[in-house]
């Protein structure tokens, strides 16, 4: 049985519109006070809440093609996911069944699944740094602070007071710009209205110069995302695992859609593409 009328924030990213410019990633970092380390080419320790993966179709010249998967936190719902491609967002009410991979494993409730919004929160000040959640996430959307951030002299002036900078030794990740929701709620409360679609948009959505990112309430027919996820071209990353993400992608290109999940038929090809390393 499904709860359909709930507020569930989610995102649709149009891969065919994404030009991989990275504006989303940078806007995200400036919104959320992400630091920069002396060596950021060490990708397996570099904190990018929204990482733009580059993929290619592995075909020879001149049929080569690249595309981009901007990857925020998927804010997995867990539970029984909608069938691949099937758009309507489903969720399981049984708490045992419906659990987010990372939330259920955190020993200290430093990350939580907000039942009112479907947003997976992160509380760095409570995180003990066991990294169990990092191990649990197949999207590598969770990042551990391996270092203290060396803020260059003066740069803290440019930091936003709405998101506190993290300390070393804790995990952080995309929160769908939760601080923005807070502000929207406050405004709505003062104004006596409800939080409208445009009142709460994430930094990446706003920034994207080609409007490839759409954000809103997946189960609210009035919101754009609700229509978009019904499309036959909509898909999600690693749907077979049943993580039931709330971030959808769209592409007319079959190879892109194939690249989003593991397929026995493609086992070899995907491996080749992965080891091809054009990322």
């Amino acid at each position: 049985m499904w709860r359909k009328n709930q507020v569930r924030y989610g995102m649709v990213i149009d891969v065919d519109k994404c030009t991989g410019c990275g504006a989303c990633a940078v806007a995200c970092m400036s919104e959320n006070n992400v630091g920069v380390l002396p060596d950021e080419t060490d990708k397996i320790r570099s904190i990018t809440w929204l990482r733009v993966y580059q993929i290619d179709n592995g075909k020879p010249f001149p049929d080569t093609e690249v595309a981009f998967f901007p990857r925020p936190c998927m804010h997995c719902q867990g539970g029984t996911s909608g069938a691949p491609g099937q758009a309507f967002f489903q969720e399981d009410t049984d708490p045992q069944e419906a659990h987010t991979p990372c939330v259920s494993v955190c020993p200290a409730i430093a990350t939580d699944y907000d039942d009112a919004t479907g947003i997976v929160s992160q509380i760095p000040t409570r995180c003990i740094g066991c990294r169990y959640c990092v191990a649990a996430c197949p999207y590598h959307a969770r990042y551990f602070n391996w270092y203290d951030v060396p803020w260059p002299q003066g740069t803290p002036r440019g930091l936003s007071p709405f998101v506190s900078p993290r300390m070393r030794g804790v995990v952080e990740k995309c929160t769908f710009c939760y601080a923005r929701l807070q502000r929207a709620k406050n405004k709505a409360f003062v104004g006596g209205g409800k939080v409208g679609e445009m009142d709460y948009q994430t930094a990446c959505t706003e920034a994207c110069p080609s409007g490839a990112i759409t954000f809103g309430q997946l189960q609210n027919p009035a919101h754009k995302v609700h229509k978009l996820i019904q499309s036959e071209f909509a898909f999600r990353l690693l749907e077979k695992l049943g993580t039931n993400p709330k971030v959808y992608y769209m592409s007319k290109r079959k190879w892109v859609r194939m690249m989003a999940d593991n397929h026995l038929s493609q086992a070899k090809a995907t491996q080749a593409a992965a080891s091809g390393g054009h990322k």
């Binding site: 065919d16 519109k17 030009t19 991989g20 410019c21 990275g22 504006a23 990633a25 940078v26 806007a27 970092m29 400036s30 006070n33 920069v36 002396p38 060596d39 950021e40 080419t41 990708k43 570099s46 990482r51 580059q54 290619d56 592995g58 020879p60 010249f61 001149p62 080569t64 093609e65 690249v66 595309a67 000040t125 203290d148 060396p150 803020w151 260059p152 002299q153 003066g154 740069t155 803290p156 002036r157 440019g158 930091l159 936003s160 007071p161 506190s164 900078p165 300390m167 706003e206 920034a207 110069p209 080609s210 409007g211 499309s231 036959e232 071209f233 007319k252 390393g277 054009h278 990322k279």
Partner: protein, 769 residues
Amino acid sequence: MDWDRRTFVKFAVGAVIGIHASPLIPKFMDDTAIWTQNWNWVPVPEDGAVAYAHTVNPHTGTGAKAKLIDGRVEGLRAIRVEGNPNHPLSQGGVLPADASALQLLYNSEIRVTKPLLRNRSTGVMTQLSWPQALDLVAGNLANLAKNGQAHMAAALGADPSSTTGQILMRLMQALGSPNVAFTPTPRETMALAGLFMMGQPFLGFDLANANYIVSFGTPLLDGFGAPVAVRKAFAGWRGYPKNQARLVQIEPRASVTASQADQWLACKPGSEGLVALAMCRIMIDEGVYDRAIESAYGWNDADGLPGFKSYLLKNLDRAKTASLAGISLPKLVKMTLAFAKADRAVAVCGPGNSGDPGRLYDFMSVLALNALKGNLGKPGGVVAQQPLPLKSLGGALPEAKPPALAMAGRPFGVNNVHELAQAALAGKPYGLKTLILCGGNFVFNGPQANVMHDLARKTPFVVAITPYMDESAGMADLVLPSTHWLEGWGDSTTPFGSAVSCYGLHRPLVKSVDEAKDGGDILLALAQRLGGPVAAALPFKNLGEAMAKRTQAMGDFKKLAEASYWAQKRPAYGAMRFNTPSGRLELSSRVLRNLLSKGGRDADKTARALGVKAGAQTAFLPHWEEPAAYAEGAAYPLVMQAVPSLRTTWGDEAVTPYMVKILPDTVLANTDKLVVEMHPATAQQLHLQEGDAVLVESSAGSLTAKLTLYAGAAPGMVFVPLGLGHKDFGFQVAGKGMNFNRAVKVTSDPMSGMPIWELTGVSVKKVRG
């Protein structure tokens, strides 16, 4: 009582129980927990009243919205740069460079805060007061002027159309020096092509309304014109279940544009213009072209010179051309017919991937193709922008006597910073005594960085006006701190390719660091100190005042400043007015002909002298000249081209820490190694493998990098990311990768005289490391 074992044990046990009973332990744990959340080296940003202010980033042309916070302790500060939804071009979108602008603004480790005098021998910097610094420069210039050597002072600026650029020009002109050059842009090539063929210097592509777009090697989606605007248009082309418009990309590499395009025709490097001509030929052969063009001057032979039609029919065999360009003819024909059939089709020319201003004849060819398509002045076609209603800063000033260094015997003066530098270095006709670098960071951006480096090193007195301790400042004797665009006044004009003209303006939003002044203010103060004609030519108290005068026609300056932009409402549709000698479209340019035969010179000879092989036979026609890079010889068998990316650079600003952070390891590999792309087959021929350290060497310079094999790279080429390899800009940016512009060989376009460096002949060798 005495302390026997028993008492001790009792005491110990008692103590343990006591401690556990007391709140000591929980209190201590609580405190430690709190402490871990308040490490004093983790910054705590101050909260305060939030306000937004509109502005325009002059480097990207993006309409931005700065988020400001007024803190009780910290005062007013910017915490974010977001997009301005009202801005007609960027419509709320931003680029990485915009979104991370604060990282440059607030990094006091890279900002220049006070005037600094550098001792060349020791390299030691000493602080000066502003009066001292200005007197030093003014004294130097005045001295030159006194000895009739004013022309031995040169100034390089970022943007000639900006008010600061205008001030710089007037300053030097009034001083008596013809040597002012600016960062070369495709806007100038476009202006020339437009003037020569249509008498229209300001042309744009109505991308938003086109439904069939053929791009000739222009990196539409990797960085072109106003990148955000182009992306907004691109977003409109896309749709489900099928796209609204068809994009065809013609270039040698599977770039982002090529990949996102509906069709990618991989061509030989530098043959894009040729493809445009081939399309013209096909359209003529198939008779699918707008008959109106037959009335154009130079369609048929005229004045004993071949017309465009006969030139194509005679010299441009379809099959030969296609194979020369490396494109399958059937594909090309099919595409051309679709292009001709489409109701709102446009052919786009522009800067190359390496960010050069483009080749004049290629631009002319593409314009001709558009004319053949008959889309001039039509929605989704090539339109003329309404010229910006900008007043000039004052009356015309007398031309400086001695010829400009960059003229190099050309019939018309052009902005060629590279020729200026080379002539000055060679001392032909004369050398430089003073060099003013006003923005643009030429020592890094070049175009040929090593030449600009030498120029700065050889010139006795170098002044750098810059917000940052950048490469140019590092070479300067005197560094004058100018403001960041969020701190001061400034403006920018219509970006390349835009269908509507647009003026961007930025004003001081936050307190400027220490003693930094607006670049314009510094120049004006200099003018005042120089006095005489110079002061008279620039009678403004400050840059703001100058901008106010210049923008009078745009209405109330205060309102304008707050809106931060002025823009033409809608593209100027309707029959295009041709301000040519013939009053018609000129496929064979008479303007050009007149220029070449100015002063009774033989146009044919001049043309040949300038490097147009067929001389007058083709010099005035859109035609194709083989790129110089082909003629580099066996020593440099490969062709090098840049990979532009909004992640590495846009405009003349430096890459920011966040931009470096999001670079994939196919651009910047661990640790901080530049990565160059090559086709697997080419690598095999050179016995190179994935991950090899290679030396990319041209006749002008070199760079070392890590090699990656990319099937999408054209064989016989090597592709180098653009905009990395800064020596300065702090530990987050310095030493990341290598500078493409240190390896390029800059040549001059035969006819426009603009510097071009789209392609460079190189050799690639494996090296240790």
